[in-house]
Symmetry: C2
Subunit: 229 residues, 2 copies
Amino acid sequence: GIVGAIEAALAGGPLAGKHVLVTSGPTHEPIDPVRYIANRSSGAQGTAIARALAGLGADVTFVTGPADVAPPQGVRVVEVESARDMLAAVEAALPADAAVFAAAVADWRVASASDRKIKKDGSGSLPVLEFAENPDILATVAQMKKGRPGLVVGFAAETDDVVENATAKRARKGCDWIVANDVSPATGIMGGAENAITLIDETGAEAWPRLSKAEVATRLAARIAEALA
Amino acid sequence: GIVGAIEAALAGGPLAGKHVLVTSGPTHEPIDPVRYIANRSSGAQGTAIARALAGLGADVTFVTGPADVAPPQGVRVVEVESARDMLAAVEAALPADAAVFAAAVADWRVASASDRKIKKDGSGSLPVLEFAENPDILATVAQMKKGRPGLVVGFAAETDDVVENATAKRARKGCDWIVANDVSPATGIMGGAENAITLIDETGAEAWPRLSKAEVATRLAARIAEALA
């Protein structure tokens, strides 16, 4: 509306008046009331991206799993645990001008999750975990027939053949960009302060130098502002 | 030695000169380079116990998994990830006058842990996780033939039949005391600020009122000081 447009103009910045959705952090998938499957995402990169987008004037909805780092100031925070919770929060937050899926979403949940703590029964037998595929949040949004955000950005955490895998992922998911990074333990990126990413779009792959996660976020936010301009 | 005894006497407190080992926090059991199995232990109770013991003058070795809360001041901190790492750190820290096993150690690890990130292969097939039993740190120390700490305290996180299960656990593990608590999600204890414990020793079960985790720690440390006096 007019008031929103005036507020955005007053707030300033190239993303004023734009709604950008950012997901961040890990998801936790319950095994039983005390155990869960997690991943090593600290939420640092997604948090930095949300902060940078807000700094350019965007109206940011920040959907975050249980992260180590605190969410940024000046964004709308939605806290979730599991992948299914995250999809529901994303769908509730749409429409958006752009969506950046930086969360490390679990591919699988435990289909046989128990309401009671699984105990050692003394027989020496081990638990059996049955898995079910989680919803694919990136593909779900990237392939929306109606109301798809104008720019959909996915992330690919790879340990091998980073560009090849991430390029294939971009085509398979139907998203516009993939931010690919090498999360091999030797890189120290997962949970660390720096990131070395490759941005993959329809024109190919662009390797960025190793930068702090804040610098990666600043560059990516500027690119998003260009794309939405 | 004489110097240590003099230092302890100068430091004061009923536990001066006593070495107490405390384990705390969750363990993380790797699935692949980015995923792991965790549990909802925040490390708050174990941290409070270590702080209370140090406050009574004990020389505390604090072996902690990846906890949410920072370790206390004035203790020797050993950081570990998995149950196997924790056992090795415990064995390296012995001998001790008392050992308090407050950590929420994973019963099982993933036997089929992968060096590479497990990927969706497009076939729709789901990963299979094979488990192996982790070492039982409490039982290992409680049943030591030589060099067993004079007081071995275990914890039991139960969701059903708390006293019955914890009493059976005390006998099965061979420890002196069990600190039992009800971690049903409805209690809010796991990850919360309060605890309602039952102390089980050779004389039976003593239910404590619902207290802050700091108050539970203070009471337990005082009991340990009495037992070692």
